[in-house]
């Protein structure tokens, strides 16, 4: 099929039809910040951090397909400012005083703060206090650190097929749950595969006994798995 011609940040790029702006940008070495996106999972456009400017409209690059002649700005003043505000909102709603990233630097939220030049969170923090669910023999979830990206929900559904993780409630009280909001350890559908641990971008879902410096995550595992499955 014919290649499309798009302009990203002033650069003219030839792109294959059917690809998203995010994919095309990545292929061409243009970095767009993401959080809920993960290669190998369906995109939902929930975190809004990958917004780009498309003719003055802000669209999520993970869900918007390229079209011929598109002119896209990934680093405009507005886009950067909005991304930063959104990130501040994420920090303010959770509780990210966390021993993980201090030790291992393995937190995507922390990386985003650096990338998006977040000097301080200008809105008051909520200081959420949720109970830690450590009922699972191998894993635990600290919902204070959860950013509701839904990667655990999607990986469990789309890759593992267990449908253990899901969302409950709405607005500020929305949270991820296991089965019908039972303690994780008693969630019968859980296969203990650990994929949710690997894809969680923060320290919310962790392996027991390895919650500090030892904790290394492998979110790229999912893309590998899905690719291999496709090959059969």
């Amino acid at each position: 099929m014919d290649k499309l011609r798009v302009k990203i940040d002033g650069r003219t790029i030839l792109a294959a039809p059917g690809k998203t702006i995010l994919e095309v940008a990545a292929e061409n070495g243009i970095h767009i910040p993401t959080l809920c996106h993960l290669d190998g999972l369906r995109d939902v456009g929930a975190c809004r951090l990958c917004i780009v400017d498309l003719y003055g409209q802000l669209v999520t690059s993970c869900t918007t397909k390229v079209a011929d002649g598109m002119e896209i700005g990934t680093q405009t003043e507005t886009v950067r400012a909005y991304r930063r505000t959104i990130l501040e909102l994420l920090f303010a709603e959770g509780n990210h005083v966390c021993s993980f990233c201090v030790s291992n630097g393995g937190c995507e939220l922390q990386d985003l703060a650096c990338e998006l030049d977040m000097h301080s969170v200008r809105v008051p923090y909520t200081y959420r206090r949720e109970r830690v669910d450590a009922t699972h023999p191998r894993f635990l979830i600290d919902r204070d650190r959860c950013v509701l990206c839904g990667r655990c929900v999607r990986v469990c559904q789309e890759v593992e097929g267990a449908h253990t993780w899901g969302f409950a409630e709405r607005g500020a009280t929305a949270r991820v749950i296991t089965d019908l909001a039972v303690p994780w350890g008693t969630a019968e559908s859980c296969t203990s595969c650990g994929k949710c641990v690997e894809v969680c971008p923060t320290g919310a879902i962790a392996r027991k006994g390895a919650s500090n410096a030892e904790m290394r995550k492998h979110p790229d595992l999912v893309a590998e798995l899905t690719e291999r499955r496709a090959r059969g």
């Binding site: 005083v97 922390q110 650096c114 200081y127």
Partner: protein
């Protein structure tokens, strides 16, 4: 040209940021010639200079009435205020008490302690605020030095830039929490 007046204050925090400040090693020698240390836990000068200072580095979050009051004094008497370290920038560990009513907190900590024989410190010590707040929620802050503690190099970079009359460029990894 006179020396630049620098103060540091220590609110709810562990003093680790001050330690990190002292960790700037040989830069200290350079600084000693260029700055005059005013009110600081390091110098043990307890009164904030009446005539004001050029720069104040603030470690720690705001947790009680005395800190709130002093923070306002700091702002009024400093040309530049720097939030030093995560507690000042985000509230960090001291803010973990937020959500627990201060009264319960005091009763739990002092009421059940053997060393205080259950006496509750209501009178002499400053009253706790309902919530621990990051510095910028209480006064306007000019620069934020992230980290728990901020790396010595980062502190040196910021202070030296200010001494040279420049705006410290804090980007990327400089903004790493934790």
């Amino acid at each position: 040209m006179g020396k630049v007046k620098v103060a540091t204050v220590w609110f709810s925090g562990c003093a680790g940021c001050h330690m990190s400040f002292l960790d700037i090693d040989e830069v200290l020698i350079d600084l000693a010639g260029r700055i005059e240390f005013c009110n600081s836990p390091i110098t043990d000068l307890k009164v904030f200079p009446e005539g004001g200072v050029d720069v104040t580095l603030v470690e720690g979050a705001i947790g009680n009435e005395e800190q709130l009051e002093l923070a306002r004094t700091v702002r009024a008497k400093s040309k530049i205020v720097i939030a030093l370290g995560d507690c000042a920038v985000t509230g960090n560990v001291p803010a973990l008490r937020n959500g627990i009513p201060p009264r319960e907190l005091i009763e739990e900590i002092y009421g059940t302690s053997r060393t205080t024989n259950g006496a509750l410190p209501y009178e002499v010590v400053p009253r706790l605020l309902e919530r621990v707040r990051p510095l910028h929620e209480v006064i306007p802050v000019d620069y934020f030095l992230h980290g728990c503690p901020p790396p010595a190099g980062l502190i040196a970079k910021a202070v030296l830039a200010l001494l040279d009359g420049k705006t410290p460029e804090l980007t990327g990894a400089d903004l790493k929490f934790g």
